[in-house]
Amino acid sequence: MKQGHGAGGELRRIVRINEEIKSVVATAFKINLMAMNAIFLAKRAGQNALGFGVLSNELRRFATDLQQQMTVLREMTYGSVTTVTGMLKQTQLNRVLERARAEAVGEGRKLIDDFLRDHAEAMLRHEERIVALNRRLTQMIADTAQLVELGSVLARSAKIEAAYGGAFSSSLMQVSSDFEQTIGEIQRSLENLTKHQFQEATA
């Protein structure tokens, strides 16, 4: 971790990530509902919208997978809060020990030096844990980005299929445009997520 960034800063970063996750979860829920409506619409459109119906089913599966992925991400950020809290306590203890060391003399000072050495090692272990968690988080975000790219492809394909929807073509076109737009929102949230994560990964 960057010097001066601090455990408090790490906590604020986790909150920024969590807020983006909440936004993606809400959007994934919206896509799920939209996909259900699209499936009904495709059924009404009949033979002309068979392909659109298949894609709507796939989009619904995509929304479910995305929600599950976000649940895992959220659990990971909660795990990070526990680790960062440990770091916060360690940091606060170190501050107190440093102040005590400045005033201590002789044997007392030696004892505090020993304490500080032990605490430096404990701090290092906390930092290693944070680095490992961040690595996993980065990987998860990359996997999610791939999943969302698939969603984006599905939405584009739905748009093409909508053109063959006969009398329902304009309704199907509207629905597929909504899909495209909503998945675009998720992509933007993921970009923000990556940005927050990258800030830490390079810190």
Binding site: A7, L11, V15, K22, Y78, T82, T85, L88, K89, Q92
Partner: protein, 246 residues
């Protein structure tokens, strides 16, 4: 992990109860934290001890953006109430902590400086959260000598701190009191021992009887609703307190 459950909602005015940490070790008393949200502003009531900070912070974050929590309210000075203060300050150094003037120079041992604390005078005060005006209601000597409840006149909710607290056994730890007679057995020993003053108790019962309360939310145990609020006040009024044995 704890969960954040909405117990009151009217537009952007909400009360969340942050409760029931299944992963909490047995040597720590379970605590309830409450978050009052009004628009873009929020106050966290009795934020809890440093040991439960990760659980409280995570549960709160799942429901609300913790960057918008601008105030903490500490009913009194105990470690299970406010020892997480230093963690909250690391997260947001601008956060303000409202507590009795009596503890204003004691609680900084947990963290914070002169800018952190807003001292509540003995008679209480209003605390503005967003567009809502909450009231710090005196509850001194119940159990702490500088002790406050927080009343929300619009939601008709009284956060009662340790008053109404119950130490619930596993399996009887629902969010709300469902059977008053059964529930109150788990509150009796606590109130007899922790609440130290008959006079203070009578004063409090008279004071809160004047308030229109639909929910009374203690810091431990279950929430009293509807008629159970009146039942609790009546029960407490006749309970002998300040005794060693129940």
């Amino acid at each position: 992990m704890k969960t954040a459950q909405v117990i009151y909602e009217d537009g952007s005015h909400k009360w969340y109860a942050i409760v029931r940490d299944a992963s909490r070790p047995n040597y720590l008393i379970d605590t309830n934290e409450y978050l009052v949200v009004a628009g873009d502003d929020a106050i966290l009531l009795d934020p809890g001890g440093s040991e439960v900070f990760p659980a409280v912070f995570s549960a709160l974050s799942s429901a609300f953006d913790p960057r918008r929590v601008s105030k903490l309210f500490a009913s009194h000075q105990d470690p299970d109430i406010i020892s997480s203060l230093s963690m909250w300050l690391e997260f947001n150094p601008e956060i303000k902590c409202y507590l009795s003037w009596l503890w204003a120079s004691f609680v900084p041992h947990f963290g914070g400086d002169a800018d952190t604390f807003v001292s509540i005078p003995d008679g209480g005060m209003d605390i503005i959260v967003g567009s809502q005006r909450l009231q710090a209601i005196p509850a001194h000597y119940l159990h702490s000598s500088g002790n406050f409840n927080l009343y929300d006149p619009k939601a008709k909710i009284l956060f009662s701190g340790d008053i109404g607290a119950a130490l619930l056994p596993p399996g009887e730890d629902g969010l709300f009191v469902e059977n008053f007679d059964r529930h109150i057995r788990h509150a009796e020993g606590f109130h007899r021992r922790w609440m130290g003053s008959e006079r203070a108790k009578r004063d409090w019962c008279a004071r809160v009887s004047q308030l229109d309360i639909e929910m009374m939310c203690p810091q431990h145990g279950a929430i009293y609703r509807g008629d159970d609020v009146r039942r609790f006040i009546d029960w407490f009024a006749q309970l002998e307190v300040g005794v060693l044995k129940s």
